[in-house]
Structure formats: C-alpha cells, structure tokens
C-alpha cells in the first residue's frame, strides 16, 4: 500500500494537472480576484484609506477567491464520481486530504502574490526591507492554514445539497482568525496603520497554531467526512 505522503503527492499532482489543462484558476479566478481589488478601490475611493486598509483587502480578496477555488477543486471530484471512486478504491483519506491541500496551497500562493502586486499598484502600498521576513512568514502560515480549512470544508460540503452556498457559510466564520491574523501581520510587515515589524510576530504564532490544528484535525477527520 502506498504511503500517505506518496498518495498526497499523487493527488496534488493530479489536481495541478487538472488546473494546467483547464486553466480555470488562471483564466477565471485570477481575473475575479483582480476585479475585486479594483471594486474595493472604487468603493473606498480614497488613497489614504486604501493604503491603510490594503492588507485587509488583500486577504479578503484571497479568502473569497479561495471559496471559488475550493468549489472548483471538489466539483472536479464529484462531477463523475471520482471522489467516491477514490474512497471505494481504499485510497488513504489522509493522503487525499493532504494532496488536495497541497495543490490548493500552490494555487493560493500564486494568487496571493498577484493580489499583493495589485495592492502595490492600485493602493500605493510599499514593501519595506525590514518587513520582508515577516511578510514571507505571514504568507506561508496563512496560505497553509487556509488550504487546510478549505480542503476540510470543501470535503464536508462536497456531497451536500446547496453546497455552493453551504461552503461559504461553513468556511468563512472558521477562517476568520486567519483573516485577522494575516491582516495584522501584513500591516506590521508593510508598516501601515502605525504598526511595526515587532507587532507582527505574535500573529505568526496564531497563524501557525491555526495551520497545525486544522492540518492535524483535517488529516484525521477527512476520511469520515467523505465516507458513507
């Protein structure tokens, strides 16, 4: 029997290959996220305000885009009964969970970089040298945490009626700590809202704890979520 790690690499590779062939994230989700950043600018219509709230807007856009990516990731599995087939084939559910989270994280990481770039261009945000390490840590921990929670709740909602509306209802409240922590840490990294780099590191602790909790919990619980 293949190890959990081997299964997770296999599933992640498959998910990324599906995205490579279909280009749904690159051709639809990225424009959607960019459009959100533009709409935020229209709605707030003040350079001072936009610069101040840029970190929060980046992570808001990331979370809303994550909903679309997760929906897509599990629509691919349920369209022709593939997730059922994986379960029937006795493929280790922990490997399926970690593999889908890994693929999700890869896509999310690219999206977040694009959103940060959009914030720099649209909201006149700057990256300061002293905050780069904090910014990288924020991105890594928040991305991992969001990927784990997205995969867990994506699996939960996959078989349910009304899953398109159920997923946001389930996922957004749970992901709120990531939104708060990532926003505060990014503010500290960028020096916005009067925050300094030292203000940001405690939030990394929260983000890391969240990622570990949902990583372990998801690995253990995913099997029973997708099983009958």
């Amino acid at each position: 029997m293949l190890s959990v790690w081997a299964i997770s690499r296999l599933v992640a590779g498959k998910d990324l290959r599906v995205e490579w062939r279909s280009r749904v994230v690159s051709n639809q989700v990225v424009p959607f996220a960019a459009l959100m950043m533009v709409m935020f600018a229209f709605a707030l219509d003040s350079d001072t305000v936009l610069k101040r709230v840029a970190p929060g807007l980046v992570w808001l856009a990331a979370m809303f885009s994550l909903l679309v990516i997760v929906q897509r990731a599990f629509a691919v599995e349920t369209a022709d009964g593939a997730l059922d087939a994986l379960r029937v084939a006795g493929v280790r559910s922990a490997g399926i969970f970690l593999g889908k989270a890994l693929a999700l994280a890869a896509q999310l990481a690219v999206l977040e970089l694009i959103l940060l770039g959009a914030a720099i261009v649209l909201y006149n945000t700057h990256i300061v040298g002293s905050g780069i390490a904090l910014l990288v840590c924020t991105y890594l921990t928040a991305t991992v945490g969001l990927s784990f929670v997205g995969t867990l709740y994506g699996g939960l909602a996959a078989g349910a009626k009304g899953r398109e509306t159920l997923l946001p209802l389930l996922m957004l409240p749970v992901a709120a700590p990531v939104l708060i922590g990532a926003t505060r840490a990014t503010e500290a990294a960028l020096g916005t809202a009067g925050a300094t780099t030292s203000d940001g590191w405690p939030w990394i602790g929260l983000l890391a704890l969240f990622a570990v909790a949902f990583g372990v919990g998801g690995t253990l619980a995913f099997g029973s979520l997708i099983d009958e």
Binding site: L2, D80, D84, A85, G90
Partner: protein
C-alpha cells in the same frame, strides 16, 4: 479453491430501509455472475456490500478472503466498483486518468500501457481529453483504470447503460477477457439478452434476497 464472494444470510440496511434481507450468494474465481431483478430489489446494495461500502448488520460476508463484518475497508483496494458514473477526471486525458488510477496501487508504466492496450486506448485515444470521448469510450477508459488498479473483483452496476449495440458487445468481450485473465465479475443489469452471451450464471435478486 476458496470462493471469491461468500455471503450467508446477509442483512444490510440503508437508514431504516432493509436493503438486503438475508442474501446468500457464492461466487467462484473467474465467474461472470449476472444479477437480475426489478428496481429496488437490492442489486446495487449487494454490489456495494461486496465493495465494503455497506455495513453487514447480520449474517456472514467474506470477499477475497476478507471478513466484511470485522473490517470492510480492507477489501476496498482489491475491488473495482463501477456504478453509473465512471470516476474519471474530464479535464485529463485518457492516459492521465489510467496512469493516475494505476499509480494509486503503484502500477508500473508497462502495466498502465498494458491496461490501455487491452481496452484499445493506445494510439489516437491516449492523449484525448475524457470530456471529448463518447459514452462507450469513457466506459472503456474506466475499465482500463480497473485493470491498472489490479482489481481482482469487478462489480459493475448497469455497465451497458448509455452504450449502443456495438458498445455493449464490445463491453461483453472485454468482461469475458477479464474473467479469462483471472478477474471475477459481478454485473447488475436489466439487459435480459446479456444473460446468454455474457454470464456464466444468472442470479435473481428480489426483495433484498438472492434466488
């Protein structure tokens, strides 16, 4: 030789509904057994029980030497269940799909190629996206995935559905070849005419019981 499937007075429920009400069935290796019966008779439930997806409430059930009462998940990697859906990824090619499913059991490149070859999926179809295939071609791809996964017991629920006459004949040829190669096949079907051309034995399922 030990039977591949041995069910004795098996009772299984779906919620409060008795899906199987004392089913007894023995299937030997390389047999092709056709399950016939009206809708709601328990054919699908019988297949899902053999696949380790449905819990045994009462009775004894052994599939491929695995006691389903003790641990029904242990039999899953060795069984291939093909229901109304094919379990394929539409955006991937035929080769991608077969390679992926073969990789779940560590199948080699040669094994994957052989599985595709047996289903006539090499050459021009290998690099075609599944979304562009006909129903019959998708069904062949799904069967190639079963072969690549080295499934010893094939459980097929209405596999002829959606296929034209040529496709159905082709499927029957495939199933006979699989049985000749050592697989055991149980097919649930309404296709009365398939009994003679395909199955080594026909079994009636009525009211959750096997006759």
């Amino acid at each position: 030789m030990e039977p591949v499937v041995e069910l004795v007075d098996v009772v299984a429920v779906l919620g409060a509904f008795p899906a199987l009400a004392g089913a007894t069935l023995t299937v030997a290796r390389s047999e092709i057994v056709l399950l016939r019966g009206p809708n709601g008779a328990g054919k699908t439930s019988l297949l899902r029980l053999c696949a380790g997806l449905l819990a045994v409430e009462r009775g004894t059930a052994t599939v491929l030497g695995v006691d389903l009462v003790r641990d029904r998940t242990a039999v899953r990697p060795r069984v291939g269940l093909l229901g109304h859906s094919n379990g394929l990824y539409a955006d991937l090619t035929v080769a991608d799909n077969v390679r992926f499913w073969g990789a779940t059991v560590g199948a080699s490149t040669d094994e994957v190629q052989a599985a595709m070859g047996r289903m006539g999926l090499t050459d021009r179809l290998a690099d075609v996206s599944v979304s562009k295939l006909s129903a019959g071609q998708r069904r062949r791809t799904a069967l190639a995935c079963l072969i690549a996964r080295r499934a010893e017991l094939w459980l097929l629920d209405e596999p002829h559905a959606g296929l034209d006459a040529a496709g159905r004949d082709e499927l029957d040829t495939t199933l006979r070849a699989a049985a000749a190669a050592g697989a055991t096949v149980i097919v649930a079907s309404h296709e009365l005419e398939r009994a003679g051309s395909l199955a080594t034995r026909v079994v009636q399922v009525v009211g959750g019981q096997v006759r």
